[in-house]
Amino acid sequence: MTALLHWLPLLGVLVVVIGFALRFNPVPVVVVAGIVSGLAAGKSIGEILALIGNSFVSERALLLFVLTLPAIGVLERAGLREHVSNWIATLRGLTLPRLLMVYLAIRQILAMLGLYDVAGHAQTVRPLLAPMAEGAAEKRGAPLNTQERNDVRAFSAATDNIGRFFGEDVFIALGAVLLIQGFYSQHGIELEPLQIALWALPTAIAAFVIHAIRTVLFARRIRTNAQTGTITSSRPGNGRDSVPGTDKTNAPDSRLHGNDGA
């Protein structure tokens, strides 16, 4: 009986896995999983409700990003995304891989200084990085199709995540390092924060190198998509050098071909 009680709360994990696999709406899945876990551990309904309520309101900071929405909405209404994209197109040297690598480096360094809430998906990716990346990608001479546009946006969001995660652990004053130090100190092992933080550096560097390589490969794929697209619809070898206007007229059907091939 006690052995069974020890394993029963894992039912909550099972609910999450099945719910996500069946693509149910995640919010009810997660709440049901919490209730199942609580009941399996022998807690009363009142205890479970209080546990869910307390855990929920303790994490209110996770909703702070919605405060960026009014300002960003007003700017988007006045064409911020269009302007960012147009402006990037005029900067000749700023290619897609360079843009993403510079952002990755800045994001990592800021996170290493503990400034990981300075940038983020709401603060910087939607209003600035994603339109910049779209503008930079369109320097190949053909506009992005819907699939490619989504890929560029998703890759921008991924770059933000990777920069944040693998810079944060080098910062000594709060977050991960203090959690590690606190855990060990509870178990009788005293460590200096700096000792822990320094060993995060090799991974931080590896993260930059690996993602930078993937950025270059991703940008190359986006560029060659356009070239093969042009080859199927018009004269060969004209992809990058042709006048943007002529490419735009060719683009719609060539993009469809490109999609069928992939």
């Binding site: 869910i52 006045a78 302007h83 991960a176």
Partner: protein, 340 residues
């Protein structure tokens, strides 16, 4: 601006007066959500209105709930739990319909007219946050500290958003009501995805309190040959990834796996260096964060914000980086922890 006295320091005699606290940011969120609920109510979008209203109440009442729990009164927390369940029930009805935006030609015309001036308010958000994070502690007016040292960066972010909104209205000559209307447009675009990070954090609390962590680390220990140092490193690393994928958070995985596997097997039995093990163990967990929809604020919220069609689009873009980095981390762990 209200002045709220707060007690800090060990003696309790030193009274620090602070103007801006994170609590005010939560009230601001509640106000914004209530405004969005009101706009939805006028359009008879009942589910959306109810959803944002309940969330607004939880935002505004959060401190009261926590204070009551600290005083051993459980009713407010239970009511908050009922609120969370109501949100879960409303979530499937929050269809992520694209709300009408101003037409593209008008936006393009504005963009050409305003040009780089549009950047100002957008850049103000990270810039003001950065300034508060760096110098906020030194801003003292008389004996009043402008910023609460608790969660100062996030308080700075909230202040930055207010300043940026004022600047955006000024630059675009839009009416103040546009701030609410446009903010609400983006909020409804996000829909339930905005809520998921909090719900998952609540689940993490329940999992921790019901012993899910202990059960998982027992499972890991049952499956590995403990006298092989290599097997222990792999089990610890992959256990961190697995547990992070399930919880959506490496911070929740770390104490469980390190207490269950890292400390008894790697540090005590095989003599691993705790500093290196802790640091690389946490980073291995971060690789797991890149794989999981449970890390909603990093992997699902951007899908909604960037209006991507598939819930896993961001994970699809980043999992290869995560997988390569996982191999690097496991290698580093095996070669470093027994050597230093």
């Amino acid at each position: 601006m209200r002045r709220i006295p707060a007690f800090t320091g060990m003696t309790g005699r030193e009274v620090r007066r602070i103007m801006l606290k994170i609590e005010q940011a939560y009230w601001l969120i509640a106000l914004f959500l209530a405004g969005a609920a009101w706009l939805n109510l006028r359009e008879r979008r009942w589910s959306h209105a109810g959803f944002w209203l309940v969330l607004a109440a939880l935002m505004a009442g959060g401190k009261y709930v926590l204070d009551a729990t600290a005083a051993h009164q459980h009713l407010p927390a239970q009511l908050a739990g009922v609120g969370v369940i109501a949100l879960a029930a409303l979530s499937p009805r929050m269809k992520r319909g694209h709300l009408v935006e101003r037409d593209a030609a008008a936006r393009e015309a504005d963009a050409n007219r305003l040009g780089h001036r549009l950047f100002g308010p957008a850049v103000l958000i990270p810039l003001v946050t950065l300034l508060v994070a760096l110098f906020g502690a030194y801003v003292v007016i008389g004996s009043v500290h402008l910023f609460d040292p608790v969660r100062m960066t996030l308080t700075g972010l909230a202040l930055a958003c207010v300043i940026a909104l004022i600047a955006a209205l000024w630059v675009t000559r839009a009416k103040p009501a546009a701030g609410l209307a446009e903010g609400r447009r983006l909020l409804d675009t996000l829909g339930w995805a905005a809520l998921l990070p909090l719900t998952l954090a609540a689940l993490g609390g329940v999992f921790a309190a019901t012993g899910v962590g202990a059960a998982i680390s027992d499972l890991v220990r049952m499956m590995i040959p403990v006298d092989s140092a290599f097997a222990c490193v792999i089990a610890y690393g992959l256990g961190m990834v697995l547990f992070t994928v399930i919880m959506g958070n490496a911070f929740a995985a770390f104490p469980v796996l390190t207490a269950g596997v890292g400390l008894p097997l790697l540090i005590h039995l095989h003599g691993a260096n705790p500093a290196i093990l802790g640091s690389l163990g946490m980073l291995t967990g971060y690789c797991g964060t890149l794989f999981t929809p449970m890390a909603a604020n990093f992997n699902i919220v951007p899908v909604a914000l960037l209006e991507l069609p598939n819930q896993n689009d961001v994970i699809r873009a980043q999992w290869k980086t995560g997988a390569a980095l996982l191999v690097v981390n496991l290698g580093l762990m095996y070669f470093l922890v027994f050597r230093f």
